[in-house]
């Protein structure tokens, strides 16, 4: 396959326009037809109409969550693929997303989920933080990427086992259903408050990751060369782990595990940025946002009766699509 590298500004502008369009579409989608313009007029006059309520309390938080979480997953995937120099890395590989999921599941398990709206996101963030601490302890002074991946495998295994344990001893079937549905990953029925909890962590993670862009470019020549080019490889790897943990942990805390975005998006965009890890970061951020907003629109259009979960559809579409990509590019794959 041959792709033309597109100039950075044009690519980002194109993706940006795309994002605006799909975001607007996302606001239009729902069981009730509302006029966005009327809703905005009502809102600006501080009149509460059905339209403005639906727009600001339901659709906007949902679309914004999909946007920010998609962006986070796209960016984190691109960052880890750059760090490991492997197109098969994804945000879950260092174990933080499973750690965050476990934190949230424990909140469900102990019945705190309905006590306060912030219990779940905080549980998730605590889980993400705990995973980072464990990674720190496991890795110590090692400079090997393999140690980092193995630490991720260990945390994923422990997190998975603990989640299974929580399900096993769940106090009642309703709790099981709650946990399972939450784990599937969704952005529906979230308020703007949850977004506001997650947003600072996401933005912090984004800034840290974007700061490491040059380092990721230098890593194209290997760690030793990057080190000779003035990069403190160990320290910057920690920056990336912390950046990914902050934004992915926050994303999972409010929306559960949404798979494949972080794997597929960087893969799709990479040829258009000439395989450059640094340029891939921003482009994948926009690409991830677009893809998840579109997926959430699809979820709403396809759902009848019981709601199809966002995480289910991304995996359902993402898995085969990724297979297709591998088949198509296996000769050029690294």
């Amino acid at each position: 396959m041959k792709f033309e590298t597109i100039p950075n500004s044009r690519l980002l502008a194109g993706l940006g326009v795309c994002l605006v369009v799909v975001f607007y579409c996302a606001l239009l989608v729902g069981p009730v037809d509302i006029s966005i313009v009327e809703a905005l007029i009502d809102w600006s006059r501080k009149e509460s109409s059905i339209g403005s309520l639906i727009l600001f309390d339901i659709r906007l938080p949902r679309a914004l969550l999909a946007l920010f979480i998609g962006a986070t997953l796209g960016l984190a995937g691109a960052a880890l693929q750059g760090l490991f120099r492997n197109p098969l890395a994804e945000p879950g590989i260092i174990g933080v997303s499973n750690g965050a999921a476990l934190g949230a599941v424990l909140v469900f398990y102990f019945g705190y989920a309905n006590l306060a709206w912030f219990a779940l996101p905080f549980g998730g963030l605590a889980g993400a933080l705990a995973s980072v601490v464990i990674i720190f302890m496991l890795i110590g002074d090692s400079r090997s990427n393999v140690t980092l991946i193995l630490a991720g495998v260990a945390i994923n295994a422990i997190g998975g086992a603990m989640i299974a344990l929580a399900l096993n001893f769940a106090p009642n079937p309703y709790a099981i259903q709650e946990i399972v549905f939450w784990l599937l990953g969704s952005v529906s029925n979230r308020s703007i408050n949850e977004l506001m909890i997650a947003l600072p962590f996401m933005l912090l993670g984004w800034v840290i990751i974007l700061y490491c862009g040059r380092f990721l470019n230098a890593l194209t020549l290997g760690e030793e060369t990057a080190s000779s080019m003035g990069f403190d490889v160990k320290r910057l790897r920690w920056f990336l782990v912390i950046g990914v943990a902050a934004c992915v942990g926050a994303a999972v805390s409010v929306a559960g595990n949404i798979g494949f975005i972080g794997l597929v998006v960087p893969h799709l965009i990479r040829p258009f940025v000439g395989y450059e890890p640094r340029r891939l970061l921003l482009a994948s951020t926009l690409g991830g946002a677009i893809l998840l907003v579109v997926a959430d629109i699809a979820v709403q259009l396809l759902s009848s009766g019981g709601e199809l979960k966002l995480g289910v559809i991304t995996s359902l579409v993402g898995g085969p699509f990724f297979l297709f990509l591998i088949l198509k590019t296996r000769n050029t794959l690294l």
């Binding site: 470019n217 194209t220 020549l221 290997g222 030793e224 060369t225 000779s228 080019m229 003035g230």
Partner: protein, 262 residues
């Protein structure tokens, strides 16, 4: 004054001593060769001199200043390091790979400047890689890839170049090409240090040689002084035929010596 000097350099991994009390000096205008058997510690020495690894004892001075006093950025601009078997992990174009050499001059939010582009172009001219600037680096031959990796270093425009076995696995044409480029670089206030296994190339191109064995400096001196049949037999455990003519000295390994235990 020497461009770079290392005094009493030691390095350990756990209790295993890799390098013991090595002294090395690189003067401006010199092409210095590091030779010695596999596992002697040549690559480790390069990693120490390029600050990729920290010495456990000893001192490295760059133009009279302790290297640790230089900022990482300064160091990256002054010292270029071509690692052993350098390769690209992503299928970049040649021009993009060489552009990576400009990273020490760029801020994290900024793209390449006009000056960066000029330096890249100049590096491509020096290394004769201009012809395949738009090719994907991973599709090039080994010789061409080495030239590209070398060009990346020239784009940084460093004073001092370290190259770890740059001509290993290259055909004679590319071996000479790479050595000529390094030789050309090591003039005036610039210098280069190169790890070599081809002793004839070392004899022909280097001003001085450091012969390293078991993590220690065995001998240092001009190629004529170092490349004697006795030294080579002692360190490498091979019998050699050494011939000289107008083109320089040639060292031809003839047979292994039975009683050598490396």
């Amino acid at each position: 004054m020497s461009l770079l000097s290392g005094t009493n350099l030691s390095y350990r991994i756990g209790n295993l001593s890799i390098l013991k009390a090595i002294d090395i000096e690189v003067k401006p205008g010199e092409l210095v060769g590091l030779i010695g058997p596999n596992g002697a510690g040549k690559s480790t020495l390069l990693r120490l001199l390029t600050c990729v690894e920290q010495v456990h004892s000893g001192e490295i001075l760059y133009e009279g200043r302790d290297v640790n006093e230089l900022s990482t950025e300064e160091r990256a601009r002054c010292i270029g390091y071509l690692v052993q078997g350098a390769k690209a992990y992503w299928p970049f174009t040649v021009e993009k790979i060489i552009g990576l050499g400009r990273i020490p001059y760029q801020k994290w939010w900024r793209d390449a400047s006009v000056e960066d582009d000029e330096k890249v172009l100049q590096a491509m001219k020096i290394t004769e890689t201009l012809a395949f600037r738009n090719r994907i680096v991973t599709t090039l031959s080994g010789g061409e890839q080495t030239l590209v990796m070398l060009a990346r270093i020239f784009a940084t425009d460093p004073q001092l170049i370290f190259a770890d076995e740059p001509v290993a696995a290259l055909d004679p044409y590319h071996q000479l090409h790479v050595m000529e480029i390094l030789r050309e670089h090591a003039r005036d206030d610039r210098a280069a240090v190169v790890v070599l296994h081809d002793l004839s190339l070392a004899a022909r191109f280097c001003d001085r040689l450091y012969l390293i064995n078991h993590g220690e400096l065995y001998r240092a001196g001009t190629p004529i002084e170092i490349l004697t049949a006795e030294n080579i037999a002692e360190v490498y455990g091979v019998k050699t035929r050494i011939t000289g003519d107008a083109e320089g000295v040639s060292v031809i390994p003839v047979s292994r010596l039975g009683d050598h235990h490396p």
